[in-house]
């Protein structure tokens, strides 16, 4: 790849290098500080707590923690299971339905799901499936005979099945959206015609013709899903196993332990978590190899596999189920937010009251303003920088900005603690600026991730034609590339926006709690467990990115009303 524009890359090479070096310095420094904030305490160095000599004691202490191996393994297995399932669902669904009417219907249904915060979706799911949850209430006591909730171990089952289910419902829409952006750069219609003419089934035709190119584009996003699922905290607390909890949950507990010496243990565990993440990545690389091998065998065998209705239906059902689960769950959280007393086994609250909304809404305004300001500015900045980076690096796969993906790969809790020390040491007051900087650090990789693939895969002939007309590089960028990539840009912006809206720990620790966002309010209040208040915050928190995604999906259709091919 990258052949056609090599000349351009050479021309801008030297300038590109300095831009990259500068970026690496500006962004790399805080990232490295975050990493140092894990590594140093892990080896016993944190003078504020009296740790000033290098030691391996804390790793020994970690090894002595009860059930630590099981905690680590549960995370890996759950992460891999989630990723496998999500890739399978999204891949099969794309292969089976891309380009069909049902596809665009589900596409519109699924996109806004990205906007729902993980914790809210997990709460929604928990209330649906719990033994005292909505589903049981609907059929009890009439069908089940239950006047009291049964003693089923759901959620929080030791095999982490509920957690995996929760992660799948949230990650499938994310990967789907990334794939969608990538898909628009592939010759879908032509290859469909070709493989159909050769007698392939829909699935196998897609697999042998488009899948390798599509997967290459979504690969980083797949890794993001994997890393996220292995190191997730909030979903694991709500749905995951408790005895023992997964490693990230235990790290969060140690890092918040009132015995401050537990921070050393937390840092050592954070390094273990890093190793766990790496192990999961290595296993995934193996799975990729096996997949490639199988696909190659399938391709060479020439088998057409025409009977693929069952897997296609399953994938469509799974995608629709993800959407339905979250929508129904959120709707029920909405009912909770206006419920009076709502006891088991009543299917509907005894009385409805706007009391919780009236009490909560007036205080939400300041938090709402801060949330929107942070999300708008960090997503815009990240989009601008991502465009700049991709433009500078052209199609050459930018190894220079691999570093920027580090915040996705490191356990958030220790990383942020390292950053906090750096910011305080630099004498910066906790304020909008420093919080924005940290949000930017977390938002940028996601924006880059969403934009990089479509950027590289855009047909280079458009720009060559523009260059032929004597347009400068900048003119080409502004008048040809960016308009062609408008949907991808807007999607990337919306992804960045929703990441910023959902950031809790960085906002709390770097802002020293002085900047209140919907996320900090929601997590603080959810520790109080009032389902009404949780419902309100989940709805408000979800509605913000939802609006942005709505704009992102409608804007191209409005802007390009008269150019049919540009609307997707």
């Amino acid at each position: 790849m990258g052949r056609p524009t090599r000349i351009k890359a050479l021309q801008t090479g030297s300038r590109g290098l300095t831009t990259n070096t500068l970026l690496a310095l500006i962004l790399g420094l805080p990232i490295l500080a975050g990493v140092a904030g894990i590594i140093l305490p892990a080896f016993g160095y944190l003078p504020a707590l009296g740790g000033s000599r290098v030691t391996l004691d804390h790793f020994a202490e970690l090894a002595g923690q009860p059930h630590i191996l099981r905690s680590a393994l549960t995370g890996v297995v759950a992460g891999l299971a989630t990723t496998c399932t999500v890739v399978a669902i999204v891949g099969t669904f794309l292969a089976g339905f891309a380009g069909t009417p049902i596809f665009s219907r589900i596409q519109h249904l699924v996109s806004p799901l990205l906007a729902v915060p993980h914790a809210a979706a997990a709460f929604a799911l928990a209330f649906l499936v719990a033994p005292s949850g909505f589903v049981i209430r609907l059929v009890s006591p009439e069908l089940t005979g239950f006047t009291r909730p049964p003693q089923w171990l759901v959620p929080n089952d030791p095999l982490a099945l509920s957690m995996v289910a929760g992660l799948i419902t949230k990650e499938a829409p994310f990967l789907f959206l990334i794939a969608l952006a990538a898909l628009s750069q592939l010759p879908l219609r032509q290859s469909r015609q070709l493989t159909a003419a050769l007698g392939y089934g829909r699935l196998s035709g897609f697999l042998v013709s488009l899948w390798p190119a599509l997967y290459r584009q979504m690969r980083l996003a797949v890794f993001a899903v994997l890393v996220y699922s292995v190191s997730v905290v909030d979903v694991a607390i709500i749905l995951g196993p408790q005895l023992p909890a997964t490693l990230p949950v235990r790290i969060a507990q140690w890092a918040a332990d009132d015995d401050l010496r537990a921070r050393f243990l937390a840092s050592a565990a954070a390094l273990l978590q890093l190793a766990v993440v790496l192990a999961a990545v290595v296993i995934w690389l193996l799975i990729e190899r096996i997949g490639r091998f199988v696909l190659a065998r399938l391709t060479y065998s020439g088998r057409r596999l025409r009977n693929d209705a069952v897997p296609r239906l399953i994938s469509a059902f799974a995608m629709a189920a993800c959407a339905a689960l979250i929508f129904v769950g959120i709707a029920i959280l909405g009912v909770w937010s206006i419920a009076g007393l709502w006891q088991f086994p009543d299917a509907w609250p005894a009385k409805l009251t706007p009391q919780a909304w009236l009490r909560t809404l007036p205080q939400l305004w300041p938090a709402l303003r801060t949330t929107i300001a942070l999300a708008l500015s960090s997503a815009s900045l990240a989009l601008f920088l991502a465009v700049l980076l991709l433009h500078r690096n052209g199609r050459a796969s930018g190894t220079g900005h691999r570093l920027l993906y580090l915040p996705l790969l490191l356990p958030e809790i220790s990383f942020v603690f390292g950053l906090q020390i750096l910011i305080v040491a630099a004498g910066l007051k906790p304020a909008f600026g420093s919080v924005l900087a940290v949000h930017f650090l977390f938002v940028l990789p996601y924006v880059l991730l969403s934009l990089a693939a479509p950027w590289r895969e855009l047909d280079p002939r458009f720009e060559r034609i523009a260059a032929g007309f004597g347009k400068s590089a900048l003119q080409t960028l502004l008048t040809v590339r960016l308009p062609l990539l408008l949907r991808a840009c807007l999607t990337a912006f919306a992804v960045g926006f929703s990441v910023s809206v959902s950031l809790y720990l960085p906002t709390l620790l770097i802002g020293a709690g002085r900047l209140t966002t919907i996320a900090t309010e929601a997590v603080a209040l959810s520790s109080g467990g009032d389902r009404r208040v949780i419902g309100i915050h989940a709805l408000v928190q979800a509605s913000l990115p939802f609006l942005v995604f709505l704009i992102a999906s409608l804007a191209p259709q409005l802007l390009f009303r008269k150019r049919r091919a540009m609307r997707t």
Binding site: R70, P149, V424, A512
Partner: protein
């Protein structure tokens, strides 16, 4: 850009070198403190998980603004340890002035840790607050000892707490209720799956373990000091023998636990649990008022006594608005603020003041308070058992996780 960053760091280091101006923070000279506090902004780091409590703090902030010209910002935490973490990070970075935290709602292990690491503002200011004269430090020993650790007046008492059990009288008959840890086990045998406690290290859950330990340990004086390694195993043997019997009788057979008190409250409303407990005697009444629990819920305690303690306000050593924090701590101790706090329609938290020391008017206001249908009168709350030394909590939590941390 890097040059500029260098300059910023340099400027910051200079600023750190030239420590902030000297301010009037000697609580003994109260007029100077009040004058100094005017115009300050106090960042009050307090758990933000309860809307009624948040509303109370908002009210206090409004009063502080109009009476003393002090701005109060409630930094809402999901866990007090986060505020401690902020102070730790500041100390790590050498930021010994202008800290981000001015006042913390604190007790127990967080206090013990901050005291041990020297992160608290001293010397003893709490007894110099004007409203200290109303505090009941004679009959409430927990006002001066936070989980057996002497406060050394590094923190000012804010409210009382006592372990109280709740049940739904529509489902459970009063006559069947247990009256001790031992009879609770018998009750659980008769009602399997209907009792549980929040998973340690949750504060309420560990409190339950401490309650059982106090009841079953032979010699209670052992709990007043740190754990003695030589006798620890024998000391806690009765507790874990008890838990070994109780665990299979718990909700979900002890394979999962409620997250915290609010989770237990929800489970009582959902009918998953029949007996729950909280550290605030008024919790059930306020939950009934909020429509979270049915109005058939009632309270009970063990006649042999239940755990009691006090929660406090503390000022970090590097707080920016120390004078403002002192004035706020004093205001929150005033009969007016304490009366409002004990009102179950507002918060329902027991006062730390001695009614005997109040003016006749204030005293009758306290006596007139309607504590709510599910709240026991002060004389029905039974004896208070003192908190063990924090060391016990840490060791018991670790031991609990080792024994019950992996369900199979």
């Amino acid at each position: 850009m890097t040059g500029r960053a260098g300059k910023i760091i340099l400027a910051a280091m200079l600023a750190l070198g030239l420590a902030g101006e000297v301010s009037a923070t000697d609580a003994g000279n109260w007029d100077a403190v009040v004058a100094d506090a005017k115009g300050q902004t106090v960042y009050f780091n307090a758990w933000g998980g309860s809307e009624p409590i948040n509303a109370y703090i908002r009210w206090a902030g409004g009063e502080m603004k109009s009476r003393y010209g002090v701005n109060v910002v409630h930094v809402k935490l999901d866990d007090t340890a986060k505020a401690v973490a902020t102070v730790v990070a500041e100390k790590a970075a050498g930021k010994n002035d202008d800290g981000a935290v001015d006042l913390i709602w604190i007790n127990g292990e967080n206090f013990a840790a901050m005291k041990r690491e020297g992160l608290l503002f001293g010397p003893g200011w709490a007894t110099k607050l004007p409203n200290w004269r109303y505090v009941d430090h004679e009959t409430k020993p927990t006002v001066l000892k936070d989980f057996t650790i002497p406060t050394e007046v590094l923190e000012s008492p804010w409210g009382g707490a006592k372990l109280v059990f709740f049940h739904d009288s529509a489902r459970t008959r009063k006559a069947d209720l247990p009256d001790s840890a031992a009879s609770l086990l018998k009750w659980a045998e008769a009602n399997p799956g209907r009792f549980s406690y929040p998973q340690p290290p949750d504060f309420t859950g560990t409190s339950f373990l401490k309650q059982v330990l106090i009841e079953l340990i032979g010699d209670r004086t052992r709990l007043l000091g740190p754990v003695d390694e030589a006798t620890f195993a024998a000391d806690v043997a009765p507790l874990f023998a008890y838990l070994d019997k109780l665990t299979p009788l718990l909700w979900r057979q002890g394979k999962a636990y409620p997250q915290n008190y609010p989770d237990m409250k929800q489970k009582l409303a959902d009918g998953e649990l029949d007996i729950i407990f909280a550290f605030n005697p008024a919790e059930a009444s306020s939950a009934i008022a909020n429509g979270e629990l049915p109005d058939t819920v009632r309270s009970f305690v063990f006649s042999g006594g239940t755990l009691g303690n006090t929660h406090f306000l503390a000022i970090p050593y590097n707080a920016t608005a120390k004078a403002g924090a002192l004035v706020l701590a004093d205001f929150l101790l005033s009969p007016e603020a304490q009366l409002r706090k004990q009102d179950p329609k507002i918060w329902g938290d027991p006062t730390v003041l001695s009614l005997a020391k109040l003016s006749a008017e204030d005293r009758s206001a306290f006596e007139r308070l309607d504590l709510g249908i599910a709240t026991l009168k002060p004389n029905e709350l039974g004896p208070a058992l003192e908190e063990p030394h924090p060391d016990w909590m840490t060791r018991i939590e670790a031991e609990w996780i080792r024994r019950y941390g992996a369900a199979n």
